[in-house]
C-alpha cells in the first residue's frame, strides 16, 4: 500500500466532498417523494372538494379523492420536513462512524491471483472513514484492476 497513492486519494476525496454533499442532497429521495406527494395531494384535494355525487357513489360512498389527497399531503409534508431537518449530506458524513472500515478487519491478508484483484478495494475499506471524503468515497476508478 504505497503512501503517495494514499495521500493523493485523500486530497482528491476532499475536493470531491463538496460535490458529493450537494449531490447527496439533490438526490435525497425524501425530497422527491415529498414534493411529488404534496403536488399530487393538492390535485386530489381539489378534485375531492369539487367531487360530484357520481364520483362519491362510484367509490362506495367514500370521497376517496379528498381523503387520499389529505393523506398524501401529510405524508409529503412529513418527508419534506424529515429531509430538511436531517439533510442526507450530514447524515452520510456522521452516520455509523467507523462502520465502513470494518468489513475485512481481522481477516488474514489474502494471497494469490484473486487477492490481487481484491487488494484495491480492501485497502480502501481499511482506511478511517473520515479520509474517504463522504458519500462518493471508496475506491478510485479503475483500482479494481489489480
Amino acid at each position: 500500500m504505497p503512501d503517495d497513492k494514499f495521500i493523493a486519494e485523500s486530497e482528491k476525496a476532499e475536493q470531491e466532498a463538496h460535490r458529493n454533499a450537494r449531490a447527496a442532497n439533490l438526490f435525497d429521495v425524501r425530497r422527491f417523494i415529498g414534493g411529488l406527494f404534496v403536488l399530487y395531494g393538492l390535485i386530489l384535494l381539489v378534485m375531492g372538494i369539487g367531487a360530484s355525487d357520481a364520483d362519491v357513489d362510484k367509490a362506495a360512498g367514500v370521497n376517496v379523492n379528498l381523503w387520499t389527497g389529505l393523506a398524501m399531503l401529510l405524508v409529503g409534508a412529513f418527508f419534506l420536513a424529515w429531509a430538511f431537518t436531517r439533510p442526507l449530506s450530514k447524515e452520510l458524513g456522521e452516520d455509523e462512524p467507523g462502520e465502513g472500515d470494518r468489513t475485512v478487519k481481522g481477516a488474514p491478508a489474502p494471497v494469490g491471483a484473486d487477492a490481487a484483484a481484491l487488494r484495491g478495494s480492501q485497502t480502501t475499506s481499511r482506511r478511517p472513514r473520515r479520509d474517504r471524503g463522504g458519500p462518493g468515497g471508496g475506491r478510485p476508478p479503475g483500482s479494481e484492476q489489480g
Binding site: 460535490r19 458529493n20 447527496a24 439533490l26 438526490f27 429521495v29 422527491f32 417523494i33 414534493g35 411529488l36 406527494f37 403536488l39 399530487y40 390535485i43 378534485m47 375531492g48 367531487a51 357520481a54 362519491v56 362510484k58 367509490a59 362506495a60 367514500v62 376517496v64 379523492n65 387520499t68 389527497g69 393523506a71 398524501m72 442526507l88 452520510l92 452516520d95 455509523e96 467507523g98 462502520e99 465502513g100 470494518r102 468489513t103 475485512v104 481477516a107 488474514p108 489474502p110 494471497v111 491471483a113 484473486d114 487477492a115 484483484a117 481484491l118 478495494s121 480492501q122 463522504g134 458519500p135 462518493g136 468515497g137 471508496g138 475506491r139 476508478p141 479503475g142 479494481e144 484492476q145
Partner: protein
C-alpha cells in the same frame, strides 16, 4: 374490449404528465453529478440502509408482482400468503444474515463476479451470458405487460405502448445510471402504495369490511376454502385451491424458488451492494422484509374483493382474466384523480421493472464481459460510456423480446419458466460453493451447465411430448427442481475428480472465511440496528400473522 376502457380525463393525464416530468428530471439532474463509473453502476457504494432497504423492496414490488399476486388472491384466496410468509420472508432473512457477508465482503460488483472469484473464468463467462440474457428477457416481459395494460385501459396500440415506455426508461437510465433507476423505483413504491391502499379501503367499505368480505366469499363459493392457508395440504389428500401439498409449498416455493430468486437475483442483490457498509448491506434485505410482510393486504385482499364484486372474473372473456383483477377494480371504484394516480402507480411499477433489469444488464455486460474479456485497461470514462451504450442495446433487445413474450398466453407461465432456467441452477451452485470449501472451480462450471440443461430439457420434453408435467407453471416448477438436483449431483461428482482452489484464495468467499461479523462493532450495538434483532423481529411477526390467518 371497449367496455373496459377507463374513463380518464385531463386531470388523470395531468397526474401522468407530472410523473414523467419528475422521472426525466431525476435523470437529467443525475447526469450532472455522475462522474465515475462506480457512481453509475453501484451508486458509489454510499447509500444508508434505509434507502437501500426501500430500494430492495421496491425492486421486487414491480407491476408483475402486484397484478400476479392479486390474480392469485382471486384464484387461490388466502393460500397466496405462502408466497410471502413461507416464500419471501425467510429467504430475505437468509440473504441478510448468511449470504450478504460473502457478497459485500468480497467487494464484488455483480453476482457473476462472485462466481469468478469463487470458481473460475469459464463459470463466470457462462453465468454472465445467461444472466444478461435473463435480464433482457424479463425486461421484455415487463414492457409487454405494460403495453397490455395501456391497451386495455387507455386503448393504446401494443407497439406504441412498448416504444413509448422503453424510450422513457432509456432516457432516465442512460442519463442517471443505477442512482436514477433506484430513485424511480422508490418513488414508484410509494405511489403504488398511495393508489392501492385507498383502493383496498374503498373496496372493503363496499363489501362490509373484512368480515363482510369473508361472508361474501363463503356465500359465493359455498365453502370457506379460499379463506384458509393450510387446510387440505396433507400429502396424498390435497384438497385446496392451490392444488399443492405442504411439501411443494415448503420445499419448492419456500426453498428452491424463493431462495433462488432472493439470493441470486442481481437486480435485488445490487441494491444491497450499493449500501455504504457491510452492516448497511446486511440490514438492506432485513429492512425490506418488514413492508413485504404486509404487502398481501394490498394484493390478496383486493384480489378477493374483485372476486366477489366483479361479475364474471376468471371467466372465458379474455378481459375478465384474473390478471386484470386490479385494473378492473380501478375501473369499478376510482373517480378521476385517484384513477390517474393508480394508473401512474401501475405504469411506474412496470417501468421500474424494466429499469431494474436493464441496469443489471448494463453492469454485467460492462464489468463481467466487456472489461475482462474484450477490452481491458481502458479509462473509466470509456467504461462509463460503454455502460450507456449497453443500456441502449439492452432496451432494444428488450423490445424485441417483448414480442417473444406476446406468444405466451399467461405471462406468469413465461416468468416461471425463465426462473427455472436461470435462477434454480445458480442457486444450487451458490449454496454448495458457499458452504463447501472443497467444491472445485470446474465443479462450478459443469454444475451450472448441467443444471441449466436439465431445466431446458424438462421444458422441451413437455413441448415435444416426451412427458407430461401438468400445467405450465407446474412444469416450470418441476424444471426448477430438476435443475437444482442435477446441478448439485454434477457439482459433487466433478469435485471429486478435479483439484480444489487453494484455501487462501477463498478468503471472504466461503462459509467460515467470511468478513468479520458486524455485531462486534461498537456503533452497531444499538439493539434495533443489529441484523439478528431485525431478523428475529421479521420472522416473529411472520409467525404471528401465519398463525392468525392459518
Amino acid at each position: 374490449m371497449d367496455e373496459l376502457r377507463l374513463d380518464v380525463n385531463f386531470v388523470d393525464y395531468l397526474i401522468l404528465a407530472i410523473y414523467f416530468v419528475a422521472v426525466l428530471g431525476i435523470g437529467f439532474a443525475a447526469k450532472r453529478y455522475i462522474k465515475t463509473s462506480l457512481d453509475y453502476f453501484l451508486s458509489g457504494r454510499s447509500l444508508p440502509a434505509w434507502i437501500t432497504g426501500l430500494a430492495f423492496i421496491s425492486a421486487n414490488l414491480g407491476a408483475l408482482e402486484i397484478l400476479g399476486m392479486a390474480a392469485n388472491g382471486a384464484q387461490f384466496g388466502v393460500y397466496t400468503v405462502h408466497y410471502y410468509w413461507i416464500g419471501a420472508i425467510p429467504a430475505m432473512v437468509f440473504l441478510g444474515i448468511v449470504m450478504m457477508p460473502f457478497y459485500y465482503g468480497s467487494r464484488v460488483r455483480s453476482v457473476p463476479e462472485y462466481l469468478r472469484l469463487r470458481f473460475n473464468k469459464p463459470t463466470h463467462v457462462f453465468n454472465s451470458l445467461s444472466f444478461a440474457l435473463a435480464t433482457v428477457l424479463i425486461a421484455g416481459v415487463n414492457l409487454y405487460a405494460l403495453a397490455l395494460v395501456l391497451k386495455l385501459l387507455l386503448g393504446w396500440p401494443i407497439l406504441l405502448g412498448i416504444v413509448v415506455s422503453a424510450a422513457i426508461v432509456l432516457v432516465y437510465i442512460t442519463l442517471g445510471g443505477l442512482s436514477s433507476a433506484i430513485y424511480n423505483e422508490v418513488l414508484q413504491f410509494f405511489i403504488i402504495l398511495a393508489a392501492l391502499v385507498p383502493l383496498t379501503i374503498v373496496g372493503l367499505v363496499d363489501v362490509g369490511g373484512w368480515d363482510g368480505l369473508k361472508d361474501r366469499v363463503v356465500e359465493m363459493q359455498g365453502n370457506d376454502a379460499l379463506l384458509q392457508s393450510w387446510d387440505g395440504t396433507a400429502p396424498g389428500a390435497v384438497d385446496n385451491p392451490l392444488g399443492a401439498s405442504w411439501i411443494p409449498i415448503v420445499f419448492g416455493l419456500g426453498f428452491v424458488l424463493s431462495f433462488g430468486y432472493w439470493t441470486t437475483n442481481f437486480a435485488e442483490v445490487q441494491r444491497a451492494l450499493s449500501a455504504k457498509s457491510l452492516g448497511a448491506a446486511r440490514r438492506t434485505p432485513l429492512i425490506g422484509a418488514y413492508p413485504k410482510i404486509f404487502i398481501p393486504a394490498i394484493t390478496v385482499i383486493p384480489g378477493l374483493i374483485a372476486l366477489v364484486t366483479i361479475k364474471g372474473l376468471g371467466g372465458d372473456d379474455p378481459n375478465m382474466e384474473y390478471n386484470n383483477a386490479i385494473p378492473l377494480l380501478m375501473n369499478e371504484y376510482l373517480p378521476n384523480g385517484m384513477l390517474g394516480l393508480a394508473l401512474v402507480g401501475l405504469i411506474a411499477a412496470f417501468m421500474a421493472g424494466v429499469a431494474a433489469n436493464v441496469s443489471a444488464f448494463n453492469t454485467v455486460v460492462t464489468y463481467d464481459l466487456w472489461e475482462p474479456y474484450v477490452k481491458s485497461d481502458q479509462s473509466d470514462d470509456y467504461y462509463l460510456n460503454f455502460g450507456r451504450i449497453a443500456t441502449v442495446a439492452g432496451i432494444l433487445i428488450g423490445i424485441a423480446t417483448a414480442l417473444i413474450a406476446s406468444g405466451y398466453n399467461n405471462i406468469m407461465d413465461y416468468i416461471q419458466l425463465l426462473f427455472s432456467f436461470f435462477n434454480a441452477p445458480l442457486f444450487a451452485t451458490f449454496i454448495i460453493g458457499m458452504f463447501w470449501k472443497r467444491m472445485t472451480p470446474w465443479a462450478g462450471f459443469f454444475g451450472l451447465i448441467a443444471g441449466t440443461l436439465a431445466a431446458v430439457i424438462a421444458h422441451y420434453g413437455v413441448q415435444w411430448g416426451w412427458w407430461d408435467l401438468g400445467s405450465d407453471q407446474a412444469a416450470a416448477f418441476w424444471g426448477a427442481i430438476a435443475a437444482f438436483v442435477v446441478d448439485a449431483i454434477v457439482s459433487v461428482a466433478v469435485t471429486f475428480v478435479t483439484r480444489p482452489k487453494p484455501v487462501e484464495e477463498l478468503q471472504n468467499l466461503v462459509y467460515g472465511m467470511a468478513a468479520v461479523d458486524d455485531d462486534e462493532d461498537p456503533s452497531e450495538r444499538v439493539w434495533y440496528r443489529r441484523p439478528y434483532t431485525l431478523a428475529a423481529g421479521a420472522l416473529g411477526l411472520t409467525a404471528i400473522l401465519s398463525f392468525i390467518f392459518a
